[in-house]
């Protein structure tokens, strides 16, 4: 038909205000009929210049900023920043602090993947049901965060040298409840979506990313693992004592949206495994090394990274012996995961572009910072 019927390409703005951009993000798509022939990203609607602001505040004062970058996984962001400062200043964290950090980071991964999986199913057109189910489970984790840190979303819980507060007595039963109730939920989601013919038809073969392209585009996290590359910073460059825990890295087959989805589901199972081990072997002792309020790390630079739910979250800090970082740079996973968006969307339809965007799992606060 395409040879006979001629249509004019026109530009359609997916975003900034669009139900599927999960924030203020815009794809300027040139479409020919329903087919996307060019896609250009427009971002920066949420730019707050955090990197500049951080240069004016002390190292401890900067921790709340990191909450606000990736607001769906504030614990991980806190952790990455604190690790960078500890690496810069050479601070050791006590074992209890490390174990608490691991539990928190993995709980955060569960919460974030709940959101990612639910919102992705919503983008494929499942009318709100998966996202509501995912929210129901996420609530339980947010309750744990509230009990522990006093906040649900922007926790501000990690500190340089450990964590802010010790665990409360309610904490362990709540986590045990999550450990008990999560596996049935994951199985349920898997049964609801992974085997659903329509879901497979919508996601399989959509937004295929070859392993070469995935590596060359600097992708990380589930995007990279979906393409069949075994890479996880928790295994490759263990921090906070991840080397003591036994877990597997799930990797996909051919790097389409479906693979990224099942990788996220499996990562939730592995996270539960890690939480179980960390909770069983939770050491006693202090939870924080005392550090001066106006910390002055020695001159130098440090790049520390963690495996955040969206991929490699790196913090590059340069110190000039003043109490504020000389340079504070975030390597945001969702920003860099977008660099292959054009390659993935061009050639598909508009509906496919939405599915691809959902499978990247962007958080606009992190893209724009």
């Amino acid at each position: 038909m395409s040879g006979i019927i001629k249509s004019e390409p026109f530009v359609i703005n997916i975003g900034p205000q669009h139900p599927s951009t999960h924030g203020v993000f815009r794809i300027k798509a040139t479409v020919d009929g329903e087919k996307v022939i060019d896609a250009e990203m427009v971002m920066g609607y949420l730019h707050r210049s955090m990197e500049k602001l951080a240069e004016e505040r002390t190292y401890t004062q900067n921790i709340p900023f990191t909450d606000r970058t990736d607001y769906l996984s504030s614990m991980s962001n806190n952790l990455g920043y604190c690790l960078a400062v500890e690496k810069l200043a050479g601070i050791e964290v006590p074992p209890r602090g490390n174990a608490i950090r691991v539990i928190m980071a993995e709980l955060q991964r569960l919460a974030s993947h709940c959101m990612a999986v639910g919102a992705f199913a919503n983008d494929t057109g499942a009318w709100q049901t998966p996202v509501m189910w995912a929210f129901r489970e996420r609530e339980k984790i947010l309750d744990i965060f509230e009990v522990t840190s006093g906040a649900r979303l922007t926790c501000n819980y990690m500190r340089i040298g450990g964590v802010a507060f010790d665990l409360r007595p309610e904490f362990e039963p709540m986590v045990r409840r999550v450990l008990r109730e999560f596996p049935p939920f994951i199985d349920e989601m898997e049964g609801l979506l992974s085997g659903n013919e329509i879901f497979i038809a919508r996601t399989r073969g959509v937004g295929v990313l070859s392993p070469e392209m995935a590596i060359n585009s600097s992708l990380s996290g589930p995007m990279l693992r979906g393409s069949g590359i075994a890479w996880d910073i928790r295994k490759a460059d263990p921090y906070c004592g991840y080397e003591q825990y036994d877990f597997d890295i799930p990797i996909g087959y051919n790097g389409d949206s479906y693979d990224r989805f099942i990788v996220r589901l499996e990562e939730m199972r592995q996270s539960l495994k890690i939480i179980q081990q960390a909770l069983d072997g939770l050491p006693g002792g202090p939870f924080r090394t005392e550090v001066p309020l106006a910390l002055r790390p020695p001159k130098g630079e440090a790049y520390a990274r963690i495996e955040s739910p969206r991929g490699e979250l790196g913090y590059y800090l340069v110190s000039d012996e003043s109490p504020a970082p000389y340079r504070f740079h975030i390597r945001p996973p969702s920003f860099i995961n977008l660099s292959a968006l054009k390659e993935m969307t061009v050639g598909g339809t508009v509906a496919d572009a939405i599915v691809v965007l959902g499978s990247i799992d962007i958080v606009v606060g992190e893209i724009d910072r």
């Binding site: 002390t58 585009s217 992708l219 590359i229 109490p323």
Partner: protein, 174 residues
């Protein structure tokens, strides 16, 4: 555990593949010559021993008299991470060759560095201000952007027991 290559180790790798590409080394980083940057990185990416395939992080740093562009590149198979740096002198129009032909993932990070530091990446396919709008006055992450007279930093001066930053080594053109 990822092995973080020291500056001299990274320099040895680079020097073995492209002789004369290293300008100097520091403890953590290897400074490459800008004119040989793309060639060196391509060689490092394709060489099985170096195998630096994944450009993890790219960012700019303002050191008052010069800019540095920092590249953190890692290998999946060897599990090591190397830090390369390139210096760009001059505040008016700092220029660094773009590594987009080697690492496709660099294009957005280079756009960001251009947007916030004003470092021009020559050879970039589409260098535009990715976060701010076209025509935004100035480059926000430069140290002299909205600086107070006398090098006073807003905010920090009011923090108890904190000394002011040192005077900039280069006189800032207001």
């Amino acid at each position: 555990m990822t092995r973080e290559l020291t500056g001299s180790e990274a320099a040895a790798l680079a020097e073995a593949l492209v002789p004369g590409s290293v300008a100097r080394t520091s403890e953590t980083a290897c400074y490459l010559k800008p004119e040989m940057l793309v060639e060196t990185l391509r060689a490092l990416r394709d060489d099985p021993a170096a195998n630096l395939v994944h450009l993890t992080n790219l960012c700019g740093v303002d050191y008052w008299d010069h800019f540095e562009v920092v590249y953190h590149i890692q290998s999946f198979e060897k599990n090591h991470l190397a830090c390369f740096k390139v210096e760009a002198w001059g505040r008016e129009k700092p220029e660094v060759p773009s590594v987009t032909p080697v690492y496709h993932g660099a294009w957005m990070q280079e756009c960001e560095a251009y947007d916030l530091f004003g470092i021009r990446f020559t050879g970039h396919p589409n260098l535009y201000r990715i976060l701010l709008w076209e025509g935004y006055p100035g480059w926000p992450l430069r140290k002299d952007f909205l600086a107070m007279p006398g090098g006073l930093q807003p905010g920090l001066g009011e923090f108890a027991g904190v000394a002011r930053r040192q005077e900039p080594p280069v006189k800032v053109v207001e």
